[in-house]
Symmetry: C2
Subunit: 186 residues, 2 copies
């Protein structure tokens, strides 16, 4: 992997996530990456291909952040809550724009596009991660509960973005705790 390509992907990942795909032009990317225009088109057939590579990198980054936060957690329940810690940390950053993958799905209109599929895969990874923790916690129906907590997570993130307050994420965390307690008791 050439250094020019690495710089392109990393720069594009940052710019697309922070400002949105249609708001970042090719010229911006190559200027920020300090790379020639033709270097981009030697490595990627089009802007769309660069977008896909950038969001694959973003997905890997997010998975690592989640796993790092979970590594410190002693119990399955704490590993579930770690996801909300990651989201709150993200939401407190300047230029927070919600979930990059939900935005990707919105900005690449076609539902059968590869960008949409990438977003879907990322969400399924999170749901499966949650299901693993919940199974370890002994929940009665770990998959169903994982689906519910993923909904809370997504809703908390988009709510925090649109309302510009961490309140939805706090509410999501509280609700997740309630659901987990209910699942353990029932």
């Amino acid at each position: 992997m050439s250094v020019a390509r690495q710089r392109l992907v990393e720069t594009a990942r940052d710019l697309f996530a922070r400002h949105g795909i249609p708001n970042v032009g090719i010229n911006q990317v190559i200027a920020a990456a300090k790379v020639a225009r033709m270097s981009l088109y030697n490595h990627f057939a089009s802007k769309d291909e660069l977008v896909l590579a950038a969001f694959e990198a973003e997905a890997a980054r997010r998975r690592q952040a989640i796993e790092a936060a979970q590594a410190d957690a002693p119990t399955p329940r704490a590993r579930v809550l770690a996801l909300f810690d990651v989201a709150e940390a993200l939401a407190s950053e300047a230029g927070f724009r919600g979930c990059a993958f939900l935005n990707l799905a919105v900005e690449t209109a076609a539902p059968e596009s590869r960008g949409h599929a990438l977003a879907r895969r990322h969400k399924e990874w999170i749901r499966d991660n949650l299901a693993v923790q919940l199974r370890q916690a002994g929940a009665a129906a770990p998959e169903a509960l994982a689906e519910q907590i993923l909904v809370l997570w997504d809703g908390g993130i988009v709510g925090a973005y649109v309302r510009r307050t961490p309140a939805p994420l706090r509410a999501a965390r509280t609700a997740a705790l309630t659901l987990m307690s209910q699942a353990a008791a029932g």
Copy 2:
């Protein structure tokens, strides 16, 4: 209100919601509305102004849909669930693109923009509507619970969009029921 203006707002509301703001050009709007280019610019200073008017109309439409669904519901709890019925009906339509207001916030990058504020107001209206029902249902902390159920609603909608299945909305509904039962019992 002139007929040309009405047709513009209604057409723009439909097109922007179904295809996304950046994907719908002025030419498309005026062609679909069968209105002259200058009629648009006589009523609206710019595309942004048309976008705002269109989404104000969309917000009114959504509020009406929710209130209509709630009108048939006999109990406060049923009126809360009516919101999820509305969302599921929306998600089952062809060309479903998630929540138009979350998309508006994403597509109008600036968080201090009027579009962003419009989306925020719409979400707050839904939260307040939920709080009214939950207070009537005798929940211990209706505002906090309303916040949690709004999170479930948003998360269910975006999940249904990105994963192209009603599963997240069903999970959201189930979780809302659990939280309401918990709040009544506790």
